[in-house]
């Protein structure tokens, strides 16, 4: 057991932190106002190699699960919205690398990993997102195409994505009835619907995807027909939930540092109750960090880690809220003024709870896995 990063990982962490400080921190006010990051920021992240994923067991260049967490943590130290945008991007890239056929892989992966294109994953429907097996979006075979009809909601990167991975029903079978398709945003029959105005995570877009007789070539089927549920669950678990926790870590680090700075600025840093609050925020952050790193490490060894990943996700979200509650007690009104990072963190922590699977669903997943191991 040891708790140090390799020198290369430490170097990567420094690089990501300095990028976030130089390129993300200055544009936060613009993002808060316009709801979007400057276009060149996405390309710059691609240039830095922040969109290159390495699958477990492979030795190609790119980030393994732990390194993806280090990246998301560093970016979300300044903007959880950019963090969540990147979670979807990495989730899509990892999924395509593992399951896409040559046509999709060769055309889209280079454009996605350089940041030329953003990607969205369409899973949640108006009826809910907690049970992906209940998806109502249909994909009907027609010659060498599938025709997609349906609507996806609360989709991160919806309006900016140029490639959409969408889960649709190809048969009535509950376990094997779903398939995943890669849909180019220029495909006739595809359009975006409303873009939501959210409590927080204002710098990334969340909205609707609409498929109306949208014809997708067979070569854009990801994995085999009927693999959709397994692919979706793997993607949400290993990239979505893990990434979401990584974003929460960056957010908690912000809460810790900003609360400390506020207390110091008013000469209260050494008050016992301030010290106790800061120690509690530090403890929650460190606990969530260790859980996340451990789950990422497990995934990188190729192990299944359902209980660990689900636990990490709900713990990190809940710990964020506990940290914020402590921070509010220390910061007082100063932390509630618009434009202050703490105020933004308060708003950003809320939508993270339901993104990538609600806390309640994570508890059920974790408990089932624990009971299974125990019995």
């Amino acid at each position: 057991m040891h708790f140090t990063l390799t020198p290369a990982q430490q170097e990567f962490q420094r690089k990501a932190a300095s990028f976030a400080r130089q390129r993300i921190e200055p544009v936060i006010p613009v993002m808060e106002q316009t709801g979007r990051p400057p276009a060149e920021l996405i390309a710059a992240m691609g240039e830095q190699g922040f969109m290159r994923v390495r699958l477990p067991g492979s030795d190609t260049p790119g980030m393994n699960h732990l390194e993806q967490i280090l990246l998301l943590e560093a970016l979300s130290r300044y903007s959880a919205a950019i963090g969540l945008l990147m979670v979807s991007q990495l989730m899509g890239i990892g999924t395509l690398m593992e399951f896409a056929g040559p046509a999709v892989r060769e055309h889209y992966l280079p454009r996605l990993t350089t940041g030329e294109m953003l990607l969205a994953l369409g899973i949640t429907e108006p009826s809910g997102g907690s049970d992906p097996s209940a998806a109502g979006t249909r994909a009907e075979r027609d010659g060498d195409c599938f025709v997609l009809t349906g609507r996806k909601v609360f989709i991160t990167n919806s309006h900016w994505a140029r490639l959409v991975l969408v889960v649709a029903r190809t048969s009535a079978d509950r376990r094997r009835g779903l398939s995943v398709f890669a849909v180019d945003a220029t495909t006739p029959g595809f359009r975006t619907g409303r873009a939501e105005h959210k409590t927080g995570l204002v710098g990334c877009v969340t909205g609707e995807l609409v498929f109306d007789q949208c014809r997708v070539p067979e070569s854009h089927l990801i994995g085999e027909e009927g693999d959709g549920l397994a692919i979706t669950i793997k993607a949400i678990s290993e990239y979505g939930r893990m990434g979401n926790a990584g974003v929460a870590l960056g957010l908690m680090q912000t809460v810790f540092e900003e609360t400390q700075a506020l207390a110091a600025a008013v000469g209260q840093l050494y008050q016992p109750m301030v010290q106790e609050g800061l120690a509690a925020i530090y403890g929650e952050t460190q606990a969530a960090r260790l859980l996340t790193y451990q789950a990422a490490w497990l995934l990188d060894t190729g192990a299944r880690a359902d209980a660990e990943v689900a636990t990490t996700k709900f713990f990190a979200n809940d710990a964020s809220l506990r940290c914020i509650r402590r921070a509010m007690a220390i910061a007082g009104s100063r932390g509630l003024v618009a434009g202050h990072p703490l105020e933004r963190c308060f708003r950003d922590a809320i939508p993270l709870i339901s993104a990538d699977g609600t806390g309640d669903i994570q508890r059920i997943v974790a408990a089932r896995s624990l009971v299974g191991r125990f019995s």
Binding site: Q286, L291, W297, D360, R363, R368
Partner: protein, 367 residues
Amino acid sequence: MNFAHEDELKILRQTVRSFAADVLAPEVRLMEETGEMAPRVLDLLASQGLFGISVPFDYGGTQMTSLERLVTLEEVARVSAATATWLAVQHTAATAVLTTGSARDKEEVLPELARGRQFAALALVPPPGTPGPTITFRSVLGDSYRLDGQASWCFGAPVADWFLVEGVAPGQDVALFLLPRSTEGLLAGPATPATGLRGCPAGPVQLSAACVPPESRLGRRPSRTVGDVVAAAHALGFCGIVLGVMQAAMEAGLDFATKRVLYGKPIAGLQSVQFRLAEMYADLEAGRLLAYRTAWLMDRDEACALDIVAAYQFLSGSALRGTRKAVEIFGGYGCLQDFPVERFYRDALTLTSRECPVRLDTASNGV
């Protein structure tokens, strides 16, 4: 990062786990009834070298790392938190003697503590600014010290041979003293019956004009540093004990939830039970990682005062939450002494009623 446990650590855990199951488990009921520890158990703990974990081989100990000590206490506490507390107190006292004692203390007292032939009690004062009784010391007659005051509810006090006493000087200087039971003016009262940790007797220690020779003061280094080393060892011991209790509560909860049938199926399928299990697991795993990383930092001599405080605080909260959830999973059975979870809850309550011995102002160097 590597979260896999080394083979040596796994073997240690397995060894202690078997020992606790074979030797301690059958004694728990008697400890609960009498509040006392059977001498037979103390002998067996001593024969396994469990009192001398943090003591070098040269002084009769088994020279384990902080991480190994943590795992040992966790496994003992998984069966009996009272026994683990008894051990942890002895470890803390031994650490004090080892790091700050004179050559004579190390040669005469340390092997006795390490081999479990003599026992120590802790009379540590509450952090400055905390109301309540305290122990003061001042220099008298040239180089002797006079100690006055009292500490309540000191683990080991009713039976100890040695007392590790923390005294505060008028200038807020803190010093540690190692006093034999025979010290004139030292009165260790009878055991105070407590909610939990029954089997590890605790009671008051009173010092009335106790004049002690200069060599009973431990350490010639700045006193705060001395106190910090001892406090860190003490706090880490607490973390190990709490982890063991939480682990036991988690296992009991899982066991009951998979066997108890309601509405025709095990209650493990009910979401209200699943939520509790998942939350207990999250608190346990998070607390364990905090504590293990802290022990790992201690073993590398890296600064970790803030990490100790954070682990202690986190585990204090999660021990109560976790054991309470176990009681809730058991429903009415959770309040019966036929089942162990009410003991876990009482032990958690008793363990977490104490402040973290590492001072926050020490830790804040890390903030």
